[in-house]
Symmetry: C2
Subunit: 407 residues, 2 copies
């Protein structure tokens, strides 16, 4: 570690001494508090009490505490968060917090303080419906992945992009292990509700499931379609009823587009099952239908981008002597594959949240062990089918049917 | 250009003044001749007449002449040839010429002079059967791609590998354009026998074919499975009846394994059709059956490597509570995809050699325009079916059936 880890005193000096930050905060007395969960990063809010100005300063820590005991994790991950957030700010400025400053040497990222927005997972627990979320998150996924696909970016720029993110090996490996491997085998990082012991054991000896999980891991590791956020669950979205912002893109890498889409779909489905068990049937139905809406809206938007796009595939000259059907067939094939893979990825993400190290608030917060076990068992059951049958589930209708069949 | 392009005088000074080269050649008077075809690289043979010692010195030229008129091409391609050849020497030393020296600054590669071997394409024209070729080329493909796949290399090393070859954008782009795009549209680099005008025109307006060719291009551009040679046709093999060597790996990049396999299969099939038309039916049958043998042997070898391998997928602990069927199912799925994609890639390579800038000796050497048109038409017909139906052709048996149906 060759950089200074900030604290609530030094962060004030840093803010005051960095023109790009002090320009935002203005003159006055700054105060700071640390609001991060302490697992991966420091997150400071620095306020100027004299004028109400405020910024968030995020700094990477050189270790990860959430896996039982502290283990080292390179602070370099902040480079990938900085690079991806700067790309997002250029590509979809309305969907990420404004970036005031970043420093790859200090591993810091300075952003707008989203004081009027909350983490989506918390909003879900309060049964808040977000009418614009499906539209905004699919704008985010469709636009950012298209822009970095072979359709939206030339080969030379894609080479640079691939190189900029290739070194994010460490966080990619976390996903390889904690999403696609450890939860389905004996591993000391796993934890689950003792009441679902039988179901957890069943997954670990479910040959068909395990083969498909590895198949999806292979796609995750080899399909370099576009720049992904890499961890796009409902804890990486801050929003209110009017606007949504994506944050925490330290897992960013060039991978399969379905992985970002699946993160959103899987987390909405889990939340829906949890909220239903919490007696919020109508809200649960909204969450489920939002998951389907996300699939549909992504498909429609990505199709429009593909058909109007150019890049390596869609040069008008190439298609000059054909009707539109060839271009359409290719676009449909690409979208079908993305949707189908998103179902498999969503299934892995749903299963691992029941069996692996990291659980989700909506389910873990169900205090009654028996009721929680019902939720976990239901999630696992649906997740298992999504993983095993992902190859044939390439539309929201088919996903809906799968879920209906499991009721 | 910031390096000295060698000539037959300066190459002697270079050899004498470079200890790694003079150690091979020994003391004495050196003579040099240039034997390259002049399109892409200089290839010198430097001999020591006093002891019979000899080396090949290859140097990249900063342009490419074969596309009508000279156009610039970065000499950096030699870096990728050097890096991949050095990797091959470690990985499959018996299947590449011994490397005596390489210099990334001078863009030179110094190798064993394979004086007892000829380019396979020339051996084919002389109807030489190579009984060990199928075995050796599948050793090459299976071992080098496995070693650089997620099964044979850890994530950290794969990251470095990806970075080392990511910048080979220029030669990847040549393939994207000249294998997957230009031959199927109006482009000034295309040339074909006037007698196949109708067939050439038909491909250019064949919506189904063009959509599949672009689908294969998408796989070529996004599937980062393993380090590929990238141009593994029968002009990149020097051999005799006893041993085969792979050369000319300047197109090396991390891509879909089926691309190397398809290059071999497609070039054998084209040669077979050409030699049949030249009245060499029995030799043509050997070439065709060798193509099938290459598919079968690759599949068997890659399967053995997969099932005995470890890497990111095959940790014994992961499969501990299952029977072997899961691991087998995954291996079969990966091999099926490679075989099927190899058929599509082979089809593109066969079609482009009839329609695009670069033709092959076995066909272009047929002097009778009418007979040559018959060969070209037959190749195009089979290639078209291979591209359109590649998704279902995942074994040598199915490829054989396709060819039989086309007779």
């Amino acid at each position: 570690m060759n950089y200074e880890v900030l604290n609530i005193n030094s962060v004030i000096e840093y803010a005051a001494g960095t023109p790009q930050i002090s320009a935002i905060l203005g003159n006055g007395d700054y105060t700071a508090k640390e609001v991060g969960d302490g697992n991966l990063n420091l997150v400071f809010i620095v306020d100027n009490l004299s004028n109400g100005a405020s910024v968030v300063i995020k700094q990477a820590l050189p270790y990860l505490r959430c896996v039982g005991e502290s283990f080292p994790l390179g602070e370099q991950r902040m480079l990938f968060e900085i690079r991806s957030m700067l790309f997002y700010e250029r590509s979809v400025p309305a969907l990420v917090p404004q970036i005031y400053h970043s420093d790859e040497a200090k591993y810091t990222l300075v952003m707008r303080n989203l004081s009027e927005h909350i983490i989506m997972r918390k909003g879900i627990l309060e049964c808040v419906k977000y009418p614009k979320f499906a539209d905004e998150i699919t704008d985010f996924i469709a636009k950012t992945t298209f822009a970095t696909s072979v359709f939206g970016m030339d080969s030379g720029k894609r080479t640079k992009l691939t190189e900029e993110f290739a070194q994010n090996t460490e966080l990619r490996k976390l996903t390889e292990d904690f999403v696609f491997t450890f939860p389905y085998m004996e591993n000391e990082t796993n934890r689950h509700n003792p009441l679902i012991e039988a179901a957890a054991k069943a997954i670990k000896s479910d040959t068909q499931f395990k083969a498909k999980a590895m198949e999806l891991k292979y796609i995750f590791m080899t399909k370099a379609e576009a720049l992904l956020h890499g961890d796009l669950h409902t804890g990486s979205v801050m929003l209110n009823e009017r606007e949504s912002f994506v944050i925490d893109s330290e897992f960013a890498f060039v991978g399969p587009i379905g992985f970002d889409l699946g993160a959103v779909v899987g987390n909405l489905l889990m939340a829906s099952i949890a909220m239903d068990a919490r007696g919020k049937a109508e809200y649960a139905a909204w969450l489920e239908s939002t998951a389907f809406e996300v699939m549909d809206k992504f498909a429609a938007k990505f199709e429009a981008l593909l058909l109007n796009g150019g890049g390596a595939m869609y040069g008008e000259e190439y298609w000059a002597n054909t009707d539109k059907s060839g271009k359409n067939a290719l676009a449909q094939k690409i979208i079908r594959d993305i949707l189908s893979e998103s179902i498999g990825f969503a299934g892995c993400k749903m299963a691992r949240r029941q069996l692996g190290v990291a659980h989700i608030l909506e389910i873990d917060g169900v205090e009654d062990d028996g009721l929680r076990a019902q939720v976990e068992t239901k999630v696992l059951g649906i997740a298992r089918e999504m993983v095993v049958r992902y190859g044939e589930i390439d539309s929201s209708q088919k996903l809906k049917q799968l879920i209906t069949d499991m009721r």
